[in-house]
Assembly symmetry: C2
Homo-oligomer: 407 residues x 2
Amino acid sequence: MTTREECAALDAADPLAALHGEFALPEGVLYLDGNSLGALPKGTAARVAGMVEREWGEGLIRSWNDAGWFAMPHRLGERLSPMLGAALGQVVVCDSTSVNLFKVLGAAMRLRPGRSTLLAEHAAFPTDLYITEGVTGLFDGARTVLLPRAADLGEHLGEDTAVVVLSHVDYRTGELLDMAAITEQVHAAGALMVWDLCHTAGALPIELDACDVDFAVGCGYKYLNGGPGAPAFLYAAQRHQGAAAQPLSGWFGHARPFAFEPSYAPTEGIGRFLTGTPPLLGMAGLDAALDVWEKADLAQVRATSLALTDLFLELVEPLGLESVTPREHALRGSHVSLRHPGGYAVMQALIARGVIGDFRAPDLMRFGFTPLYLSRTDVFDAVRHLAEVLESGEWREERFSRRGAVT
Amino acid sequence: MTTREECAALDAADPLAALHGEFALPEGVLYLDGNSLGALPKGTAARVAGMVEREWGEGLIRSWNDAGWFAMPHRLGERLSPMLGAALGQVVVCDSTSVNLFKVLGAAMRLRPGRSTLLAEHAAFPTDLYITEGVTGLFDGARTVLLPRAADLGEHLGEDTAVVVLSHVDYRTGELLDMAAITEQVHAAGALMVWDLCHTAGALPIELDACDVDFAVGCGYKYLNGGPGAPAFLYAAQRHQGAAAQPLSGWFGHARPFAFEPSYAPTEGIGRFLTGTPPLLGMAGLDAALDVWEKADLAQVRATSLALTDLFLELVEPLGLESVTPREHALRGSHVSLRHPGGYAVMQALIARGVIGDFRAPDLMRFGFTPLYLSRTDVFDAVRHLAEVLESGEWREERFSRRGAVT
């Protein structure tokens, strides 16, 4: 069994250790929930304050040009592109993941006229299913078919399949799908592939272009550390941009937004996926987070992430909890979920000790591993707390029971 | 002609003068563009910093409950409600105006099955037309008819009219429409009325409930001073909420968002108009702006706004510029637009002097009047600059010519 001293030695040798100081984590907190809301980079407060006090307060309306506000959705998209394996001109930052998914699903349905089925996974993050349902309801004859599991895709793909939407990493189990193989399988059936990258971006390197992905969306506030409700991103492969007609046709996607023409004429390129005025305070937050990402090697992030999840799985083994997260590296994202019938209370007891993960009904305790600010000793200490909570039985205390709180 | 001394005397007696100190305007700037991007309230920087450093940085994921993040879209909606004449439970703050318009138009179309025409005004703010076009494209047989002018509504309203969408205040001319009369006219034809309140909210009192309005949307960053790209708002009359099915059915609009159910089941009430995770940094900005609005009497804002636009119209009269803004109070919003063939350059010359308005093609100089931070002496001084720019001919200098800049 790995000791705390061994953890410390490995931490000292980890190339990402130098980045831990970039984050402002509170004293006494072991934060294993960066897969839900990333930690605060130390540079963010100044960047956001600059947006508020200098760009808005002093620049006022002039900042649309002078401070580059118009270009922000594109500029942030360009900063993200290398992390997604995307050549420039295919990513924009805007709106929420849900809204962006609506746009790409709407565009994708129109790119496959004559086909009417959307395939999604039953266990997908629900907003993906709700948005898919929303899109289905707007296209005549369209229907959504839910796969029992992503692995059942082959049985359901067919000549009527227009679009397949899947999460690259499952938000509950942490299972990682094979992007290249599945995208190829979907293309072989003549359908388009939309990936939800919410639990991927910033967690592991991906190659959207190399995998020939059609569309992708993802959020800015998890592993990317963009801040609560940070704007999301949207990828549309260059080859689809010319024909793509997304339904949320707002003025920021217009070819000449300031000509104030009465008819919509989408701009060339990825810009046509923009809709309304960009949320600039949130964009400043994501911009600051990307400063940290510029210093990080994503391959190293993946290597350390696997080391952290390996370590966690090793250390919790004696506790006898079932892990629903795959052991195989190729199938694992950057979080681990453990099953416990009293999972809600156990997590509350951990949080009371400053060990923050989260709970997903009915019985999953979810722990996220973020090498930019989490070390092996943090993992060691977190598992020690978990062991104490379970052994002492303190999680059975009334104060940790579910009282209708939403976590 | 009103003198500067008279302006100063009237300013000193204005009940809103006490609020001018709440805003952080740069030295040497006369800001007449609050109708495009409101000025920065002094309390905003601290509120946003608190969101970043305390709620996010220290509270981390716990702030969803502990700092009330889940409730923000509703809480801000409740704070706005009195300014809109809306009883509680009918307003949420979320997304952009464009996205929110898509939601209410989609919902409205479904509330009028068998009717297929959307009526909008040819001169509407373009994103309203583009979004209307986007919605039209998704409903079988639907079509958009553009009214040459809002006044032509009567000729086009008919048994096939499902929805009418109009701007309460025209973004170019500043013309104010009669909300009560038009809403009644639309209802008499069996159609639903959607108001765009972008140039209304925070500019004058309105009575959405009393006018029996069906739906409304508006933005947070103009007169409300919520900050660049601040989240927008959405009003849905209580009587429609039960049956309203808006197409952007994301998890924040679900009855049980954390039950992670595969099927969409909209929550009761206005919450079903929410979609994705709320943009919390932007919401903090709007929250701080609403602190100032709590100290302002909107009837007084309207009275002073009319005094400022009256004064401006009086003072520019000798300059011989045509105003496209109605003289009659009942027909005037809170900005004035003057026509000048060299309007772009004249505005650039004004901006170089620190007098900030904006330009709308082909020939309109637009000046916004915001009594929370603009005084009569400001207006007097601004007109003096305008007179000097015109009389000196300095606007003809090369540096003020259009070079493709977007303003």
